[in-house]
């Protein structure tokens, strides 16, 4: 029973449910996406964009399930904005961040493992840009906690220019225990800090490492600074005191892959 529950939970981690009529229609139109199930509220009026959605789903052979309005809200997790429509998209690059995943990757990897984490980045525009850049750089995983980060919803998806569906998101509940888990597997935890002595350009890519980027307002939280093994900086000239967090993430992600 337990292992089947764990399996189901792991499966849920690799599904992203999008909602809203326009977002769902767009996703159904993207041939690169693996659409699993279309969920519709039985209260939806027929015709218009609802008819377009149904036609597109039928053409692609995507099964449709009807729900009460309440049940649909629980599926979309956003009853206020789902407009009675939700779509499950399979994201095979997603994984639940747990000991099993880490061990499998560490055994199999020839190059140093590079993970990226965000601590309190609440602007979905930045989160989406970070996912896009990190995926482009080829990092092994982007830790995505359910709490303390912009929700994995339409704004993040839009800002990622759709790259989120193919990005290696490592999903977990909260960041701190996830970082402890990484540390226990011998992965160094480093956070970015403009005042740190060591530069990412000297240190990046030297060993298994998770890079933690702090939020726009408060930076990296005290408890994560406490936990971390090292602090790293991006050198700045010209009297500039800080960089945009999405820019920092891109520099870190590419630096980690350049050794």
């Amino acid at each position: 029973m337990n292992s089947s529950y764990a399996q189901k939970k792991a499966d849920l981690r690799s599904v992203l449910t999008v909602y809203g009529r326009k977002s769902v229609l767009e996703a159904l139109t993207d041939e690169m996406l693996s659409c699993q199930t279309l969920h519709m509220a039985d209260s939806n009026r027929k015709g218009g964009i609802i008819a377009d959605i149904e036609q597109r789903a039928a053409a692609r052979g995507v099964p449709v399930r009807l729900h009460t309005r309440d049940a649909l809200s629980r599926i979309s997790r956003n009853g206020k904005q789902d407009q009675g429509v939700a779509l499950d998209i399979a994201c095979p690059a997603f994984a639940a961040l747990d000991q099993g995943w880490l061990q499998a990757r560490l055994v199999g990897s020839k190059a140093p493992l590079t993970l990226l984490a965000m601590d309190g980045v609440t602007n979905p525009q930045n989160v989406g840009m970070i996912i896009r850049s990190a995926a482009a750089a080829g990092v092994d995983g982007i830790i995505y906690p359910d709490k303390g980060l912009a929700a994995l919803g339409p704004l993040v998806i839009k800002a990622s220019v759709g790259t989120v569906f193919r990005a290696p998101l490592l999903r977990c509940e909260r960041l701190l225990p996830a970082l402890r888990l990484c540390q226990a597997q011998g992965i160094e935890v480093s956070y970015l800090d403009g005042n740190a002595d060591n530069s990412i350009f000297e240190q990046a890519g030297a060993g298994h490492r998770v890079y933690v980027l702090g939020g726009e307002t408060h930076g990296v939280s005290a408890e994560i600074r406490e936990l971390a093994d090292t602090a790293l900086s991006i050198p700045m000239a010209g009297g500039v005191e800080s960089l945009n967090v999405a820019v920092s993430a891109a520099l870190v992600a590419y630096a980690s892959q350049r050794r």
Copy 2:
């Protein structure tokens, strides 16, 4: 007469005029800025924020000049949004991009000269972020044409988090002749193109070079592709097809300084 006119024009190039009551008050409050002259419309009603602006200017010894509403519009170049207030800020790192500047810098430089240019980047948010990142990386100049780029105004200043006042902006009228001038001085012109064979990480920093970044919608224009000596790409993994232009600019700027 001619040389005095040229001198005056060059001086104007190293002044940035901000406008709007809140922006002007903010600038007057920033001790790092060299505020030259406060311009006020004689129609401004006294008191409130106008009184704050006058007090702050007096405390810093910034001279005040009164103008008719029309004359003030010509100074701010934005009569609709200046709210009767404009402030000249001296930006000593600004220069007019001409043969003299290029020759002086090429003679004096031990390291390869790195310039950054934007072609048709119309989103002020991106332009501001690019200036901030390029200044932080320590590039030698950011070419800023009067035409074909988001106006050097409040939105760009805000997105740059104020770094624009200290950034090495090379001002000119249009980008194409400016690039020809660079080329005539032996500076290689390279544009960024996702499909180019050569990676910036292999090539950057190898010689004097100006990197041209294309706009959000159309990329680098045909006439600049034609003119350019080389095309360079940022390698992308994970099926990602492009990067945000501000992210690309940061990667290019830092790569150029890492040799």
